[in-house]
């Protein structure tokens, strides 16, 4: 993480689209009028969903809608690294996990590819297509290494599959999310290896529990 600042170039104004506004009203309705500021994060997230990033006029608008000082919204927007403070690439926002399990499984190669393909992290590429970042653990360690691209997880990546995914996004396609090692979810590589006995599932192993584990010993009869 580095020092987070608002982008130098800002749009002149920001307004929620009618669809976003509907969601805004949904969130505002959840909180009592005196505690409106509770909706800061949902509203900023809606801004980001709409524009791809959080711009300064949007921060002012959210502050006005929630009736809080604008510095309080700026504090929230700069605190959470999931709020993008600069415009992001329209093809893909690539967030490569660089934490230990992914790093052990080859995330450094993916990071090097990003560096090579897109240049400096955290800033949009010159063609306006991509933004990439290194992020902390996204909780998909069983499928390391992985990257979150736009709203989906792309898992079990190798330099080859990762390059292919990037090329697909560049071509305007939407590659399928999930594992790229051909496995289902986070099953072990090579298919399921435990709990494979069919008897587990036909009820034949069921039996009455005679003694509860850790139950107190009955008093010895004198």
């Amino acid at each position: 993480m580095s020092v987070r600042r608002l982008a130098k170039e800002q749009p002149a104004s920001f307004a929620f689209t009618p669809e976003s506004l509907e969601k805004v009203n949904f969130w505002l309705a959840k909180y009592p009028p005196a505690k409106k500021q509770s909706a800061s994060i949902p509203l900023l997230w809606l801004v980001q969903k709409q524009e791809g990033w959080v711009c300064e006029p949007a921060i002012r608008l959210v502050a006005r809608m929630l009736e809080v000082p604008v510095i309080r919204i700026l504090e929230v927007a700069t605190f959470y690294t999931m709020f993008m403070l600069e415009p992001v690439g329209r093809a893909a926002l690539i967030q490569v996990c660089g934490t230990t399990p992914c790093a052990l499984r080859g995330a450094n190669d993916l990071l090097a590819i990003c560096q090579q393909e897109f240049g400096q992290k955290g800033h949009m590429t010159a063609d306006g297509l991509f933004t990439w970042e290194e992020v902390e653990c996204l909780g998909a360690c069983c499928n390391a290494p992985m990257a979150a691209i736009n709203d989906y997880y792309y898992e079990d990546l190798t330099p080859v599959t990762f390059r292919q995914i990037i090329a697909d996004f560049r071509a305007g396609k939407s590659p399928a999310p999930g594992s790229y090692a051909g496995r289902h979810s986070s099953e072990p590589a090579g298919g399921a290896q435990t709990l494979s006995d069919p008897a587990l599932y036909d009820g034949s192993k069921a039996h009455r529990i005679e003694k509860l584990p850790n139950a107190p010993e009955p008093e010895p009869v004198a």
Binding site: M1, R4, V68, P69, V70, I71, L74, E75, T78, F79
Partner: protein
């Protein structure tokens, strides 16, 4: 009451106190950075760690831990010492080692605590964090490398000043204190940010690199920039006042002062009148005291007493007004006035021109009606006190007059006297269920032709709703002048009368807020310290002392008599104002009966006993049922009330001479323009 043991010593404490406060009751000093008595508790610096029993076997942050009955608190165990050393080491990881060039050096909390808890050297070899400095306006200088993120400034601006302009952005080691997009702060109390900053991150821009705290001679005194009489400490180096800091006075300013009070000292070295001047052929020429006195005495002798007028200004001490009043009364002068703004006050019981609720008393009110006043500009600390009471949730504020951002919510009840009449007649719900009511009448409601009627109506309002009538003054000298009766004698003229342009001699005691062009062909004698409107028009200038250059009595808006002390000497040949009148009296052959300030004070207190009650305030007194003497019933005009002060920073000759105040004024104007452009 519950008891706790602090290092084995038993102390009783009030329920609800924190461990830190209990330890202080026992006389144990706990180091702290983020904790401040008057701010909310943040608990983020971790310097106040102590050991408590019963409790977890680790140090606890005492500022945020409520004390419990039978608790044992240890502040000097090896565990505590080690924990504090650890915190100090962490704080110093990123704190620069620039104490020799830091303005906080010598009065820095971090420096002091590092002496007590710091290690002798650092174990860290990594680079220190670098943070961009922020722009916070013309008063606060930032050196953000030094910031330890205690957030005292954020809490002070949000809670006390009522402007949520400061905040902490980003997080972790990148956390930075800033205002939104580095806009200048708009608070009148922003100087206090630098006061509460425990390190040198926020310092005073106008005083940067000007002094070291140990070189300054410190004098405790009283402020005259507004009518509250805040407690201040004047720090001088040689003959120059370098800075003014607040002192604690719980009854008036707690421990804050306004920016005008604090940053005005650079006005004390500019535009000074340091020798007498006489106007010769349209130009002011330097003169000796003897020549000046001769010129004034000659003119006064040659003029009939009813053609002479005397106007006292806003910053005058009581002694100089008393000396002037005694001298001119003995000459038979009837036109004396201390009400430069023309407020219709002074013809009734003393309560009719005092802030009877008292400043601290505001905290006990549940309804406060402001009439024709903007306390944020006229008395920022009174405003902070109203905000404090309002924050507690009990106080409802109503306003009749110009609506403004007062830093707290209020019910807007109307613009002029008609709205007040309706309120008195029982319209509206504002006073419903009000048990402790205060009515504040500002000079905006009194300094107009129907001022006496407005005062009477306000007194009737107070009486109707069982409340207290308060007059909020804008001038430090006003109550003193009214108390001693520095008012037109029967047949004499008031300020408006003297400004009709047909007086022969007008003596101005530091009176600069009048329309000097309306003095006509009068021979004007100006007694004062600064070359401002009055001196510009004067025919003879008798240089006096500014408020830090004399010991003087000031009576604040509550009627509290306070004595200011001398920090430096008057500039050049200037004399203390009372001594000028004493000397002039001999030239006139009407020698005043006192040779020293002590004798003058004795006379003052003998003639006007209220002046003898130093630091005493009579306190709440409700107007009598007849509210006799509180102004007089009369016709009310339809004109809305307007606020007397248009520019908070430029209200008196000293402030107008100050470069800092001029910068503040233009910075504020620029930010207003930006806001208007944005809308």
């Amino acid at each position: 009451m519950p008891t706790a043991k602090v290092n084995g010593q038993e102390v009783e404490f009030e329920p609800g106190m924190t461990v830190l406060q209990v330890a202080e009751l026992a006389g144990e000093e706990i180091p702290r950075f983020c904790y401040h008595e008057r701010l909310s508790i943040a608990g983020n610096c971790r310097m106040c760690l102590v050991e408590v029993k019963p409790g977890p076997p680790k140090p606890q942050a005492s500022c945020a831990l409520p004390a419990a009955d039978k608790q044992e608190i240890f502040t000097n165990t090896p565990m505590v010492k080690k924990a504090r050393e650890g915190v100090m080491e962490f704080l110093l990881i990123n704190h620069p080692l620039d104490c020799p060039i830091c303005d906080q050096g010598g009065e820095c909390d971090l420096q002091d605590e590092a002496m007590g808890y710091g290690r002798d050297d650092s174990r860290y070899v990594e680079n220190k964090r670098a943070v961009e400095d922020k722009f916070l306006g013309p008063l606060i200088k930032t050196q953000m490398n030094r910031c330890i993120q205690c957030t005292r400034c954020v809490r002070l601006s949000t809670e006390i000043a009522g402007v949520s302009e400061m905040g902490m952005i980003s997080r972790g080691e990148d956390a930075e204190i800033t205002s939104y997009l580095e806009e200048a702060l708009t608070s009148e109390l922003s100087g206090n940010l630098a006061d509460v900053c425990p390190v040198g991150a926020l310092t005073h821009k106008p005083w940067a690199y000007n002094y070291r705290p140990w070189e300054l001679k410190k004098t405790e005194s009283i402020d005259v920039m507004d009518a509250l009489g805040s407690a201040i400490r004047v720090d001088a180096k040689g003959s120059q006042v370098m800075r003014i800091l607040p002192r604690v006075n719980e009854d008036i300013n707690e421990e804050w002062i306004s920016d005008k009070t604090r940053y005005v000292p650079d006005g004390l070295i500019r535009q000074r009148l340091d020798r007498p001047f006489i106007r010769v052929a349209g130009k002011l020429k330097p003169a000796t005291w003897a020549e000046a006195f001769a010129a004034v005495a000659g003119k006064l002798r040659a003029t009939a007493a009813d053609r002479i007028g005397v106007i006292a200004g806003d910053l005058q001490d009581a002694e100089s007004m008393k000396a002037a009043m005694d001298l001119f009364a003995s000459l038979g002068v009837k036109s004396l006035d201390c009400r430069q703004d023309g407020a219709k006050l002074g013809r009734g019981p003393r309560e009719s021109w005092l802030f009877n609720t008292t400043i601290a008393g505001i905290e006990g009110l549940d309804r406060l009606l402001l009439i024709g006043t903007n306390p944020r500009r006229e008395a920022p600390l009174l405003n902070a006190r109203i905000r404090k009471a309002w924050l507690k949730g009990k106080l409802n504020v109503g306003l009749i007059g110009e609506a403004a951002d007062l830093r707290y919510g209020f019910d807007y009840l109307g613009a002029g006297p008609a709205s007040l009449s309706k309120l008195v007649e029982g319209e509206g719900e504002f006073f419903k269920d009000g048990k402790a009511v205060g009515i504040v009448v500002g000079q905006g409601a009194l300094a107009r032709s129907d001022g006496a009627a407005v005062l009477n109506l306000a007194a009737r309002c107070a009486s109707t709703f069982g409340g207290t009538l308060n007059v909020l003054h804008t001038a430090a000298a006003r109550v003193g002048g009214l108390d001693m009766g520095f008012l037109p004698r029967s047949g004499g003229r008031d300020v408006a009368g003297m400004l009709k342009g047909d007086m022969d001699v007008v003596v101005l005691l530091g009176a600069d807020e009048i329309d000097t062009s309306a003095l006509g062909r009068a021979f004007v004698v100006y007694v004062g310290s600064h070359g401002d409107a009055g001196a510009n028009r004067a025919d003879v200038i008798l240089p006096g002392a500014a408020y830090v250059e004399k010991s003087g009595i000031y009576v604040n808006t509550e009627g509290r008599v306070q004595i200011a002390n001398r920090a430096t000497f008057p500039k050049g040949e200037a004399k203390e104002d009372w001594a000028i009148f004493r000397a002039l009296s001999e030239h006139l052959g009407a020698k005043l009966p006192y040779d020293s300030l002590e004798q003058l004070r004795a006379k003052l207190m003998a003639d006007h006993p209220t002046f003898g009650q130093v630091d005493y305030v009579a306190g709440t007194s409700r107007p009598a049922p007849g509210f006799a003497g509180f102004g007089e019933a009369g016709a009310l005009s339809d004109a809305p009330f307007s606020n007397p002060l248009t520019d908070f920073y430029l209200t008196n000759p000293i402030a107008r001479a100050s470069v800092t105040m001029a910068e503040c004024s233009s910075s504020l104007a620029a930010s207003h323009q930006r806001l208007e452009a944005a809308e």
